[in-house]
Every structure is written in structure tokens, then in C-alpha cells.
């Protein structure tokens, strides 16, 4: 199972993308746990994730999050801006998979 954590300012704006990513994962027969949290909770929740994606408006957190994520040996990246804006579940999901693969 793939576990993908999304983080944004309050966990609200990414929840739409979560739904779209889940739909895409289901449509290709993947079992995935995808969830969104606010930036303050993200560090704690990382322990349960295989990859962390952050909303583009929080791109300045990448360095700090990566430091924490390295403890769990996982990758952090900023969600592609257009994929985020257009709630492109496939693109964001593929981005997550490629990051898990690179681990």
C-alpha cells in the first residue's frame, strides 16, 4: 500500500486534490492511503507516510520538512503548481509514485 501525505496551510485546500488522487488510484487498481493535514501537524504524521507532498503556497517549508522526513527515509516535494490548481489527481499521484520509487 502507498501512503501519501499532503500538507498545506490548514489542510483545507488540498482536500479536493486528495479526493481526485484517490479516485485516480482506484481507477488504476492501486491501494493507497492519501490524506491532507495542516503544516503544523505534518511533521508528526510523516512517520506514517511513504512520501510527503506540500502545497505550492508552502514551498518555503520544503527544506525544513525534508530534514524531518530524512529521519524516516522518505522524500518531500512541492506539488506541481498546475496539477494543484487544476486538481489533477493523476499528475499529482504520478508525482508521488515517482518520489516513492526514488527512495
Amino acid at each position: 500500500m502507498k501512503r501519501i501525505l499532503l500538507a498545506c496551510s490548514s489542510g483545507m485546500s488540498t482536500s479536493l486534490l486528495v479526493t481526485k488522487m484517490e479516485q485516480h488510484a482506484q481507477s488504476i487498481g492501486d491501494v493507497a492511503k492519501i490524506w491532507a493535514v495542516g503544516q503544523d501537524k505534518a511533521k508528526k504524521e510523516m512517520a506514517d507516510a511513504d512520501v510527503v507532498l506540500i502545497g505550492p503556497q508552502m514551498s518555503f517549508l520544503k527544506g525544513e520538512f525534508q530534514k524531518e522526513a530524512s529521519k524516516y527515509n522518505i522524500q518531500v516535494d512541492v506539488i506541481d503548481m498546475m496539477a494543484y490548481g487544476l486538481a489533477d489527481g493523476k499528475k499529482a499521484y504520478d508525482q508521488a509514485l515517482s518520489l516513492i520509487g526514488n527512495k
Binding site: 479536493l16 518555503f60 487544476l86
Partner: protein, 433 residues
């Protein structure tokens, strides 16, 4: 040029967002948030405009006075919760026992608070705590005290100046003994300061900090020019794809919250509301309305008047969240970020609206915000009423939306034209191949 600016802004935003004190301050205000909502609900309910038509004036008064405690016990003494929150979250950020940090900060604040009231007649009543000093008036002293108390407490704990209990003592007991010396030392410092100030200078730190720091800072923050500057920076940061509010608000929130509290205190006493600029002014009427940068108007313009498929799709995605003032689809999908075609309306529109809103409230066309807390996700129309306790507030929101619409329209048209052209070219290419 944009690239260079962005390289400069991203680390700066990161630093501001991760600054320990600003993060603690943000969390401390969030701690008080549910309480202020509770208080606000009852202020709104007991001040509904048709209430005096259903009930006699006397019953309205009785109703208001019996429910007043809901906001007095929460927003009326907001500094208490903020002080505890700062002490708690600051200690937590240093990984020392947080709850003791919270109570030590609170006790330090109370030590500096005079337990007496001077009546207008000059008579001094002893053994009472003046409530206003625990509310808006004591906010800045509270914040300063809490940070200093938290710092002293954690330094002593970290230097290991604590009493250690032998193994086998219950953890709760051991913890309270561990906090004993740090608490004694921190509180003694504040006691000494208070004795010096009261005996030596015949005043108290409340009045001193209020006169020297709070009144000038808050006064500055309530002006229209500083507010326009803050709005400008929120918009510029978002233009570079950075969360403008998280960054700017962590600096401005203490000021905007204090201004709102001052209004609420006046509203409760049925006095004239002193401030226009305040937390609800920013969130409900200007830059936060319909999503950051007021983009609900942009969504409407796209859905009704634009032809490009890509823009239509963004509009459809944006309308649902936009109603609840969430607008990431527009910011990143249109996109607004780093898009030179829309930079002008993006920055100008909220500033024009800020000026206009200020004007309508300064002239009394629309009542000033009462200071109640309105959650930022409440839709336009409802939030305007809640913030001002008047339907004119709702009307103002709709006018503001129209202003944004008009400013954006020519720029959206230009963007639409280039998008339609691109889409047509792509189609033709597909057909040709």
C-alpha cells in the same frame, strides 16, 4: 526579474514562518479561537436586528445582560488565554514541560496586574482585578510578559536547576517538583520588577506598556496607509506563490485582534465603535473575501464571460471552494502566480477595495465591525452581516465584489484571448496530424 525576486522571497518567507516567536504567537491566538467563536455567537444572537420588534426594550436588555457573560468570560479576558498559550507553546517548542510554562506565564502576568480599580471619583477599590486589563488593554503587556517568563523558565529547566525526586515517586509529583525552582525563580523576577515599578515609580507596568508600546503600535496599525501596505505585501507574496496571510498575519494579528477587541468592548457597552481597521475588516471585507485576493469575482467573470476551455475548467473548480473563501484552484490553476498579465488587477483590486471599505465605514454609510470573530470560511453575504451586525455589511461585500470584477475584467479578457488562440492552434495541429 520575477525569478530573482522569488529566490529572495522564498527563504525570507520560510524564516518568518519558522520564526519561533511568531509561530508561538500564531498558535497562542489559535488556542483562543474556539472561545472567541463561542463568545461571538452570543453577541450576534442577542443583537439580532429584529429582536426589538419581537420583544420589549426591557426584555432585550435583560436578555443581553444575562448572556453578556458568554463574551465577557472569553473575548473579554482574551489576554489570559493568549498569555497561557504563549507560555505553553514556547515551552513546548523548547521541549520542556509545557503546561508549567503556561501557568508560570499566566501567574507572571497577574503579578504585574494591579488588583485594584480606581473609580472615576478617585476612590480606589481593592481586591478586584480590572477586567479590561485582562482583555484588549493588557494584550501587549501580556504577550511581552509571557515570552519573557517562558524564556526564563525554560533556561532554568535546561540548565538543570531543578529538584529531582528519586525513582518510584509518581511522575506527576516528580514533574511538579521539577518545576518548583524554575517557577520560584521566574515569579520572583516578576515580583521584584513589579515592586520596583510600583514603589519606585508609583505606576504599574500595565499603564506603562499600554502608553509606550501598545497605544502607538495599535494606533499605527489602525491607519489606512499601513493597512494598504500590509494588503500590498499579502498580494505580492501570493503572486510569488507564497501564502501571504500566514506570513503577514503573524506580524499583524496581535494588532488587528486588539483593535477588534476594543470594538467589541465598546459594542457591548453600546458606545461608539473606535476602530475601522481590525481583524474582520481585513478578512471579511477586503483581502480575504471570496478567497485571498478576492478571487470569487474573478471566478464569476470567468464562468459568465470567458471562452477559453482551460479558464472555464479553472472557474468550475474554483466556484465551490470560492464560496467558502478558499481559492487555491484559481491562484495556481489560472494561474495567478508569476503571471504578468494579471499582476496589475491582482495587486490593485484588493487595495482599491480596502480604500473603499475604509471610506464607507469612516463616513458611516456602513457600520464598523463590531469585533465579533467570524471564521474565515463563512460565505460572503453572511459574513458581512455577522461582522457588522447589519445587512449593510452584506451589501458592502457585494459592492466590493463588483469593484474587483470591474478591475479584473479587461485583463481577464486579454488572457482569454491568448488562451483561446492557443487552444485553437492546438486543435488545428491535432487535425492536421
Amino acid at each position: 526579474m520575477f525569478e530573482k525576486l522569488s529566490q529572495f522571497l522564498i527563504p525570507l518567507a520560510g524564516k518568518l514562518n519558522n520564526n519561533r516567536y511568531l509561530a508561538v504567537l500564531r498558535d497562542a491566538f489559535m488556542l483562543a479561537f474556539p472561545l472567541t467563536i463561542f463568545g461571538s455567537i452570543f453577541v450576534v444572537l442577542t443583537n439580532l436586528p429584529f429582536l426589538n420588534k419581537l420583544l420589549s426594550d426591557d426584555s432585550v436588555m435583560t436578555l443581553q445582560s444575562s448572556f453578556a457573560i458568554a463574551s465577557q468570560a472569553t473575548m473579554g479576558i482574551l489576554s489570559v488565554f493568549v498569555v497561557f498559550g504563549i507560555g505553553y507553546y514556547l515551552s513546548k517548542s523548547y521541549d520542556v514541560e509545557a503546561v508549567f510554562g503556561g501557568v508560570i506565564a499566566l501567574a507572571s502576568f497577574l503579578i504585574l496586574t494591579p488588583f485594584a480599580i480606581e473609580a472615576e471619583s478617585g476612590e480606589v477599590v481593592a481586591n478586584v482585578i480590572p477586567l479590561d486589563r485582562l482583555g484588549a488593554k493588557g494584550m501587549f503587556l501580556g504577550m511581552i510578559t509571557a515570552f519573557i517568563a517562558g524564556e526564563i523558565y525554560r533556561k532554568i529547566v535546561q540548565r538543570d536547576i531543578t529538584i529531582k525526586m528519586p525513582a518510584g515517586v509518581p511522575p506527576a509529583v516528580a514533574k511538579s517538583f521539577a518545576a518548583l525552582l524554575p517557577a520560584l525563580i521566574t515569579l520572583t523576577v516578576f515580583l521584584a520588577v513589579n515592586v520596583i515599578v510600583t514603589l519606585g515609580f508609583n505606576t504599574n507596568l500595565h499603564d506603562f506598556i499600554y502608553d509606550v508600546i501598545q497605544a502607538p503600535l495599535v494606533g499605527l496599525g489602525s491607519g489606512i496607509i499601513p493597512t494598504l501596505i500590509a494588503v500590498f505585501f499579502i498580494q505580492v507574496l501570493w503572486f510569488f506563490g507564497l501564502h501571504g496571510q500566514i506570513i503577514i498575519n503573524s506580524v499583524m494579528d496581535p494588532i488587528w485582534a486588539t483593535l477588534a477587541l476594543e470594538n467589541l468592548e465598546a459594542f457591548r457597552e453600546k458606545a461608539e465603535l473606535p476602530n475601522i481597521v481590525s481583524k474582520p475588516f481585513i478578512e471579511v471585507f477586503t483581502v480575504g473575501m471570496g478567497g485571498t485576493g478576492m478571487t470569487l469575482a474573478v471566478v464569476i467573470a470567468i464562468l459568465w464571460f470567458m471562452k477559453s476551455k482551460q479558464m472555464k475548467q479553472v472557474g468550475k473548480l474554483g466556484v465551490g471552494p470560492g464560496i467558502f473563501n478558499v481559492n487555491e484552484p484559481i491562484i495556481f490553476g489560472l494561474p495567478i502566480v508569476m503571471n504578468p498579465i494579471v499582476v496589475i488587477p491582482w495587486i490593485i483590486a484588493p487595495m482599491v477595495v480596502t480604500g473603499f471599505t475604509y471610506f464607507t465605514m469612516a463616513t458611516g454609510i456602513v457600520p464598523r465591525p463590531t469585533g465579533v470573530t467570524v471564521p474565515w470560511t463563512v460565505p460572503i453575504g453572511i459574513s458581512g452581516y455577522l461582522a457588522t451586525n447589519s445587512f449593510r455589511g452584506s451589501l458592502l461585500q457585494i459592492v466590493n465584489l463588483l469593484i474587483v470584477f470591474v478591475i479584473w475584467f479587461p485583463f481577464l479578457k486579454a488572457l482569454d484571448k491568448t488562451n483561446v488562440k492557443k487552444e485553437r492552434e492546438a486543435e488545428n495541429q491535432n487535425k492536421a496530424s
